[in-house]
Symmetry: C2
């Protein structure tokens, strides 16, 4: 019985296991179904956001269906149907999203196929000459081709032609195989070349004639977007610094927190767009004049140059964000002293970037805005003056080796806080003491009080009652490092303003080379209604 | 005659033109020949530098030659020879440089082929059912497949499977075409699948058995290299700053100058290695345990995490380099004041990085070096104290709103330089005046002299005799911005030291997870000669 009962228990368990298995399977299926629904929803969303993607897919499907008609060809030349796969293959590998990319792929494919054809001719001749040894010639030719192509493919400057090398080896092998099987190398090679050309033509016609998608457009938008992203990021960084945004300083969480910030994503996208820009530039240079870019040899390189200048600024914004993320933090109270000036510089700087971005977007010259940097320079000067006036907040002048300049002042008043030692500002509001001592400056207490009250980041806060012992000497060193970091932030912001000049220079170069319209001319003729458009288009066509 | 003479002149000209054409053609050919030689030399050099590339090419050639033997197969199944191209094609597209990359490509190819096979079966069945309408079914199936695959390919998370989608469409089309032509869908599909599997097997066997190239190795080396590059870059930046390296500030030349610097290339390679690391990580995760990385689920991700921490430091070095490139420069004389301290921090910081890099390279734990950061922290404290003592050099204390603390000192001595106005330091060496006034500090003249002598970057230098008029007020503002930039540099360097802690934490995490050996254990047994190796290998296998 005990055995039976054990068995029954076991079977019960197995039934329960089965049930739980079923349940988990059902759950798994449910999960799978949910995931699939989610995926489908997101895929639809993608099409709604960027309809060009749906259009591209439609074009691809259409091209493929059209080329597949070749399969049913059974008129004069029977071979067409047999080798139709070559045209289909060409469409599959050549039909790219943008027209520039398609041109490059086409060029790669063309070059690869052509040189493979020539090489195949040569080796075919050789194998025929070799007579009974033809098989050895063919195997050796495979080895040599494979070796050379794979070796050269790894050569650094050959990276863009990687695809061409693969096509080359592939085509060579196929031609050799086909030629060997039929014995008719010439016919095999020629039929294939004609069919590849046919597939390529179909790609060009459909991709260019039906709703063309240009890389140049994408590059234009990317550059404009960089200006706007950096402006947002700059404002975000300065605001974040003034509001003393704090990341939790626990190893990995620290980095993830920072990386979900809007200000981080802003300058990150600017910095990381470099490689995307290079890719788009490569495509755009292959594209014929089109749309708003009617000039032959349109200065796409200058677009990228302007974007590089923006990136040069973005590195400063990155350093600003580094101040927020840094281990050594200035106390919030000191930051607030420079509130207005920092805000002014940041909003003026962002305004300049946005202005330039929208000018590029509208393809307008600076026109009346010649001195676009005027206001931001004034703001930077205000900030610098404020720093000059308040720089006692940033340094520890008591340790000056030229003698203690504030000794006399200190001897005059003996504040009651002197014996408090270092104290955390978050606990003891500095403003509470404002009325107890005379204030030479309206918005900040005098230095000798401040120096004793200002904290090193909270972990170093010393409150005597806690009984924590840290050498005052060491604590002072940390304290002045903390204050100096505010100077760093301000100084980096001023550097940002200085670098804006390069951006403006690059913009002007671009506006000249790309023949942007002059907004003043349009303004002059705006009264005339139809006239405006005429002038615009004339300038465009020039 | 005049006509004749004209003609003769014309013919002469044309002959001359021809001659020059020939000469230029000859020059062109010569150039082409030189270029080709140069290319061949560089290609050979590449193989000598990294023999793995030559080995890879040899393996590829060997695999291709081996698989080409299938062409001559004429035993039991005739189809093998006819469809041998499928095995060849698989080798061409799957044979990648590293084993991880080959696994991924193989997975892509397998998945693409398999799902294409299933879909082709389905549509084949449908077209047979459709009877006379079979052609329409086939064309529609092409359209649907092309549309869906191209649309999903653009879905962001599908980017790594891009290759799989292409293989999918390609295989589907080929199967449909072949099946349609012969009417035997099942045989066509099965033969191809078997041949593809054969090609894939050959790739795996040759690539793994003959001199395997692992992405994990590359990742390991890349991370170690990042530590070393950043160390060099840090030293370069600090030295460059102290030696007041100056870039010519003329638009584009400025950027190219900076970009050829060793210090720039160092941190740039660290920052730009991010995407390469991600690629290698993707490959390495697919690789089985091998060589020195015997652990299952080797912590490759922690390697990348450590590298991310190094990159976090690299951003500070980038900001340091930004100080060298900045528009607002501190005068060289002031920089020299902090020479020793800056040097000390930079060399200690670089030492820590190099130490950690070589520890990773040797796969050793920190061991006795537990307090690896001790010395660099001391160095940073020295720097901070020096800043405290000399911070009067960094700020313009005359404008302090709390009252001019140095007024009393100034009233005591009326130096003869007071009426010189602002003067360029490069012309008037500050040390020339050293003996004329009393020096409270050994290595630097007193503040009130200094403030008048310190220059704004040369373009703003004011020498009264030149008759250039700039408001003294404005000049002062520029001047203090320039001094503050030195504070920025020092503060960024201290921030760099603070960030080193994260690197050390990540290193310790990595050394635990990857089970690095403990150097202390080895040291203990080093006396025993053979014993050492035994202990090492035991620890390795654990």
């Amino acid at each position: 019985m005990s055995k039976n009962s054990l068995l029954s228990v076991a079977s019960k368990e197995s039934i329960e296991e089965d049930a739980s298995c079923l349940a988990s399977e059902r759950n798994g299926l449910k999960q799978l179904w949910c995931d699939s629904c989610d995926f489908a929803r997101k895929a639809l969303e993608m099409g709604r956001k960027d309809p060009r993607k749906a259009v591209y897919a439609l074009k691809m499907g259409f091209a493929l269906a059209l080329v597949s008609l070749l399969i049913f060809w059974d008129m004069p030349i029977e071979d067409v149907s047999q080798y139709s796969i070559w045209a289909i293959l060409t469409v599959i590998v050549m039909f790219e999203f943008s027209i520039g990319a398609m041109f490059i792929k086409g060029f790669n494919r063309g070059l690869g196929t052509f040189s493979a054809g020539i090489l195949a001719f040569l080796f075919a001749g050789l194998s025929i000459l070799a007579g009974p040894w033809d098989k050895i010639v063919i195997v050796i030719s495979f080895f040599i081709t494979g070796y050379c192509a794979s070796y050269l493919r790894l050569y650094p400057t050959m990276a863009p032609y990687d695809y061409g090398f693969r096509v080359f080896v592939l085509t060579f092998c196929i031609l050799m195989v086909a030629g060997n099987r039929n014995g008719g190398y010439v016919l095999a090679i020629l039929t294939r070349l004609v069919l590849i050309a046919l597939g390529a033509c179909m790609c060009f016609v459909i991709n260019i004639c039906v709703y063309p998608i240009w890389s140049g457009d994408d590059l234009h938008c990317l550059v404009v977007n960089n200006f706007k992203e950096l402006a947002t990021s700059l404002e975000g960084c300065v605001n974040g610094y003034l509001e003393s945004v704090n990341y939790e300083r626990t190893s990995s969480r620290f980095m993830t927190q920072a990386s979900s910030d809007q200000m981080y994503l802003g300058y990150k996208s600017v910095i990381e767009s470099a490689s995307k820009e290079q890719t788009l530039l490569g495509f755009a240079l292959w594209e014929p004049p089109h749309g708003r870019y009617r000039k032959l040899h349109y200065p796409w390189k200058t677009y990228v140059k302007a974007s590089n200048a923006v990136r040069h600024c973005a590195y400063t914004v990155m350093a600003l964000h580094g101040c927020i993320m840094s281990e050594i933090q200035a106390p919030p109270e000191k930051r607030r002293v420079f509130y207005e000036e920092l805000q002014e510089v940041s909003s003026e700087g962002a305004r300049v970037l946005r202005e330039l971005g929208s000018k590029i977007d509208k393809m307008e010259k600076l026109g009346g805005f010649k001195n676009i940097l005027g206001q931001v320079h004034v703001a930077a000067e205000h900030l610098q003056k404020k720093i000059d006036h308040k720089s006692f907040l940033l340094v520890n002048s008591e340790s000056w080796e030229v003698g203690s300049p504030r000794k006399d002042v200190e001897e005059l008043d003996d504040p009651p806080q002197q014996h408090l030692g270092l104290k955390c500002l978050s606990e003891t509001s500095i403003y509470a003491h404002k009325t107890q001592t005379q204030l030479p400056d309206e918005d900040f207490p005098p230095m000798q009080n401040l120096r004793r009250l200002v904290p090193w980041p909270s972990s170093f806060c010393l409150v005597e009652s806690d009984g924590v012992l840290v050498r005052e000497d060491e604590a002072k060193t940390y304290e002045s490092a903390s204050s100096l970091s505010l100077a760093t932030f301000a100084s980096l912001l001023i550097e940002f303003v200085a670098r804006l000049q390069i951006v403006v220079d690059c913009f002007e170069e671009l506006s000249e080379e790309a023949e942007f319209i002059d907004p003043d001319v349009v303004v002059l003729t705006k009264r005339g209604g139809i006239w405006t458009r005429l002038v615009r288009s004339l300038r465009f066509k020039k």
